[in-house]
């Protein structure tokens, strides 16, 4: 069975919320990351996350939710985003963002695309396809940083893996309780 309109609004609103959180995380890291190449990469990707949030927020208004409806993710996923935001050094930030959380978000977009009705929910699918295309470019731009990584090696090489597992295993959407069916008058 496909997603209800309420579930779709909740999921798109959660994707929006996560995009805003990721935008803020990158923004928070910019002044405290010394390496110029990494700093400017974060800077360019702030705008990517903002655009994703904007597209998603406009779509929620078409799903019987407010414009820019922002649905905080499930608690466990929120904690993953907090752990990411607290990463203190460049290596942990790059690996945590690009190798752990972003791939998980990408997988969740693909899952939504698989679960929704591609025709009925085509406007959401169009937005998600654009986002997936962007995420592929972000991945390529992150790969270009690898040549620099000897300068900022990970202190804890397992950290991104643990973060990725925590992201993958937690719930993502905290659905609103179902509304009672309206009574015929």
């Amino acid at each position: 069975m496909s997603l209800t309109i309420r579930e779709r609004a909740d999921t798109i609103g959660t994707f929006r919320s996560v995009s805003v959180r990721l935008m803020e995380t990158l923004a928070r890291w910019i002044p405290t990351t010394p390496e110029l190449d990494v700093k400017v990469l974060f800077g360019r990707h702030v705008w990517e996350m903002a655009q994703h949030a904007d597209w998603l927020g406009r779509r929620t208004a078409e799903l019987r939710a407010p414009l820019h409806f922002d649905r905080a993710p499930a608690d466990a996923y929120g904690q993953v985003l907090e752990r990411l935001a607290e990463a203190a050094d460049t290596a942990a930030r790059v690996a945590g963002f690009y190798d752990a959380v972003l791939p998980d978000v990408e997988a969740r977009y693909r899952r939504y695309r698989h679960e929704t009705d591609l025709l009925l929910d085509e406007p959401s699918v169009r937005v998600i396809d654009r986002i997936l295309s962007d995420l592929e470019r972000l991945r390529r731009e992150r790969e270009a940083l690898r040549a620099l990584e000897p300068q900022f090696a990970l202190g804890d090489p397992e950290w991104p893996h643990r973060l990725a597992v925590a992201a993958a295993n937690g719930d993502f959407v905290a659905y609103r309780p179902a509304q009672p069916a309206s009574q015929p008058t």
Partner: protein, 264 residues
């Protein structure tokens, strides 16, 4: 609990502590410690690009910190600021690329984070937009307007064209700040007081950091009264400064004598 931001004291004024820089950079605090030349020698060209690259990096950092510090800002304004972050990042990259093409490298000259130090002392977004976008970036409109010609006359059309591209972006940053300050002031007239206090603080910092009599910079160039760049009237109007505001800038730049009588 969030730790209080670090500050520094420079010539008696308190400024926000410097943002992070790679170890290759020498971060200084005053013009006297900078290595600027007035000519267009090879070293001067590289230094100009290097300094501009760090200033664009600082502008990116200021805008980014505004996204962090003011999460309740209207979404449309946050979008504009996020776009500015990306624009300034792109500017820093193209300046670094040109610096490398001219044989320079990161850390070749001292850098200062003056705009960051001043703007981040302000605890409200209208004040930061007034200082960073409407003052520093508007000043950059004037500087870039002049520098395009200087580089072209020095035979470097590639750098001149690059600066022209940066100028086009800066106009949009000043324009959105002008629009939003106006809108926020219309919604709440007390915003105007915040803007006025921010500009007063900037003036106080500028007075404190003025070069001292007989002072020279790190390469022996005297730091006398500098000639302000020509006011870039066309692009300031494009950035939605009003005609009166542009005339005021012209008056302050010493062009009162050539202004029409009705606006003197």
């Amino acid at each position: 609990m969030t730790a209080a931001p670090q500050t520094k004291t420079v010539r008696g004024v308190t400024l926000r502590g410097d943002p992070a820089r790679e170890a290759c950079f020498t971060v200084v605090q005053t013009d006297a410690e900078m290595a600027e030349w007035p000519d267009m020698s090879d070293a001067s060209r590289r230094e100009r690009l290097h300094r501009h690259m760090n200033n664009e990096t600082g502008a990116m950092e200021i805008a980014a910190q505004c996204l962090v510090d003011f999460p309740d800002t209207p979404w449309e304004l946050r979008m504009q600021i996020a776009r500015q972050v990306a624009d300034e990042a792109r500017h820093a990259m193209v300046l670094l690329r040109r610096l490398l093409e001219l044989g320079g490298h990161k850390g070749e000259f001292p850098v200062a984070n003056y705009e960051w130090g001043v703007t981040l002392m302000l605890d409200n977004l209208p004040g930061r937009l007034a200082v960073e976008n409407r003052t520093f970036e508007a000043g950059l409109i004037d500087i870039l307007g002049s520098m395009r010609r200087t580089w072209r006359e020095a035979g470097d059309a590639d750098t001149a064209d690059m600066l022209d591209g940066i100028l086009a972006d800066e106009i949009t940053h000043v324009r959105f700040a002008n629009r939003w300050i106006k809108r926020l002031t219309e919604e709440d007239p007390r915003v105007l007081l915040k803007v006025a206090l921010a500009i007063r603080y900037l003036a106080r910092v500028n007075r404190a950091l003025l070069p001292r009599s007989g002072e020279a910079n790190a390469v022996g160039v005297a730091l006398g009264a500098r000639q302000a760049p020509a006011v870039n009237v066309e692009d300031r109007l494009e950035a939605e400064f009003t005609q009166d505001e542009v005339l005021e800038v012209l008056r302050q730049a010493g062009f009162r004598s050539i202004l029409p009588d009705e606006v003197k």
